[in-house]
């Protein structure tokens, strides 16, 4: 089975891995010159389906809960299973109650247990929700790691060939190009992020700061880096980050810990997430064409489940177990 995959973002790379593991011959075509720079590159890398349930449908939890295991198996050592901490400024603790009502899978922490978990946050918050099963990874390292692994597995990468018609030798063509694939009903949701560097704060896990207006998360990465994200704007306009978004993200980081005020602002980024009206991803098949799209803000969380579904379709291996899983939901 020869499969051509367009788009080397998280959807394309996970599908390539799923297919190559099952013995298919895979070629990847990417219009960029390298993996870096797409919407996946700007991701937070949180594998947090319980937290996402605050605003997402149940399917995000049922499809996303196995994501940490998928990533651990594909890229040993990349996944950090330290959970997620959710806090709120003192005057917005009502938001914490609301968040708790919409979600499950957490323990309530008090000031003491927060300090035990994240010593740098000692004395800053009286209450928190701790989502114990959640995980995170560095999305850029994961994308590059997956690419490297795929090359070793014999997957061919062709960069800089976005518009060129692919050779018609593939049995199946899979489109994983996100916003570039103009599906009916697909819209762009602009997300902005920034990266701070400071050695004065250390966090072991992503921290979400609830705020009625600008909820943000801070995800620790190696090298004293912290990714702060992410805005959600109903627009498919890319371009640079706006001054207001920088201000809001920085304000929130500063509210989490004042030392972020002294951090270096080493990067800002903008990505446009592809989403359908229900904010859920889809695998669609039309003859020899397969497409995965609409991963929205859940790329790293839901790409493994979508890749599995698409690979099952392509290789005709829809197992009884997975059918039962779908029927269950």
């Amino acid at each position: 089975m020869k499969v051509l995959i367009r788009g080397a973002g998280v959807a394309g790379l996970t599908l390539a891995f799923e297919l190559a593991t099952r013995g298919a011959s895979v070629t990847m075509v990417e219009k960029r010159r390298q993996v870096a720079g797409n919407a996946s590159w700007q991701a937070g890398g949180m594998l947090a389906p319980w937290c996402e349930r605050e605003s997402a449908e149940e399917a995000v939890l049922s499809l996303g809960r196995s994501a940490p295991d998928w990533w651990s198996a594909a890229l040993p050592g990349h996944v950090m299973r330290n959970g997620t901490l959710v806090v709120a400024p003192a005057r917005d603790v009502a938001e914490l109650d609301r968040f708790g009502r919409c979600t499950s899978g957490f323990r309530e922490l008090d000031a003491e247990t927060i300090a035990a978990l994240e010593p740098d946050l000692e004395g800053r918050f009286g209450r928190a929700l701790f989502f114990t099963e959640e995980a995170h990874l560095d999305p850029r390292k994961a994308l590059l790691g997956l690419q490297e692994k795929l090359v070793r597995m014999g997957v061919r990468f062709e960069f800089g060939y976005g518009s060129v018609q692919a050779p018609g030798r593939a049995d199946v063509e899979a489109d994983c190009t996100g916003m570039a694939d103009a599906r009916p009903g697909l819209r762009g949701v602009r997300g902005e992020m920034l990266v701070l560097r400071t050695s004065e704060v250390s966090l072991a896990r992503p921290v979400r700061l609830l705020h009625p207006r600008v909820p943000v998360y801070v995800v620790p990465r190696s090298g004293n880096l912290f990714m702060v994200g992410a805005t959600m704007i109903e627009s498919d306009v890319g371009g640079s980050i706006t001054a207001r978004s920088v201000m809001e993200l920085l304000n929130a980081a500063y509210a989490l810990h004042p030392a972020f005020g002294e951090a270096e602002l080493v990067e800002t980024g903008v990505g446009v997430r592809p989403a359908f009206a229900d904010n859920l991803p889809r695998v669609e098949r039309n003859g020899k064409d397969i497409r995965i799209n609409g991963l929205y803000r859940h790329g790293f969380l839901l790409a493994p489940a979508m890749a599995r579904q698409a690979a099952d379709m392509i290789l005709g291996q829809e197992t009884k177990k997975e059918r039962a899983h779908e029927a269950h939901h």
């Binding site: 449908e57 819209r187 009625p212 704007i233 109903e234 627009s235 498919d236 207001r244 009206a277 904010n279």
Partner: protein, 257 residues
Amino acid sequence: MLKLYDIEVSSRLLLGTALYPSPAIMAEAIGASGADIVTVSLRREASGGKTGGQFWSLIQSLGVRVLPNTAGCHSVKEAVTTARMAREVFGTSWIKLEVIGNHDTLQPDVFGLIEAAKILAAEGFEVFPYTTDDLVVAGRLLDAGCKVLMPWCAPIGSARGPQNLDALRSLRGHFPDVPLIVDAGIGRPSHAATVMELGYDAVLLNTAVAKAGDPVAMAAAFGKAVDAGRQAFLAGPLEPRDMAVPSTPVIGMAAFS
């Protein structure tokens, strides 16, 4: 029937379009509420003056009238520029005018609001000013050319409900013929019913529905509460009394002799 700038509207509930879990849920909630006017923020939902194509198509497909707003503007100049952009993008001269004076409370800057309202009314805009419950400011906004007023009942998104019923009553009493829409601060259907019982013409809300556990069910609940409040106002509710008044008919006292 309620008339806003010569347009007849059937629903007295106006809904915002921000903060929903997904556009699909937003569309369903708007349908369940019965609202026929929705507000759309140009700034946040249309970066760079270009509407988010699909999001905008979805709103257009709902068959509701759009009231663009200048949410997030902190100066007269910003608000006026945003209003002009909104007229181009949304093809309507309606504008919900917001000039924020305090970042923390999102309290309107009423001085800037009056100034911006004057400029926009002179340019042919039909201005819906988001204001406080201050009576004198309300008068100045009418002088500026506004034909609808939208006082808050509590800070935006606070869900506190009516904080100053006397001020709301006073506004209603002084401007019996001006459409008055309570905008901001409504948290629960009972809040909406309360201001409608005072004789307010309509209610505008967003967060109370969008951030509810089940936005669609909450939208329906608000639709009913607004209707109930309106009907109660028309039916003439009782005023509170200090003494108990028996409600059982007294036909003949039993004689114990």
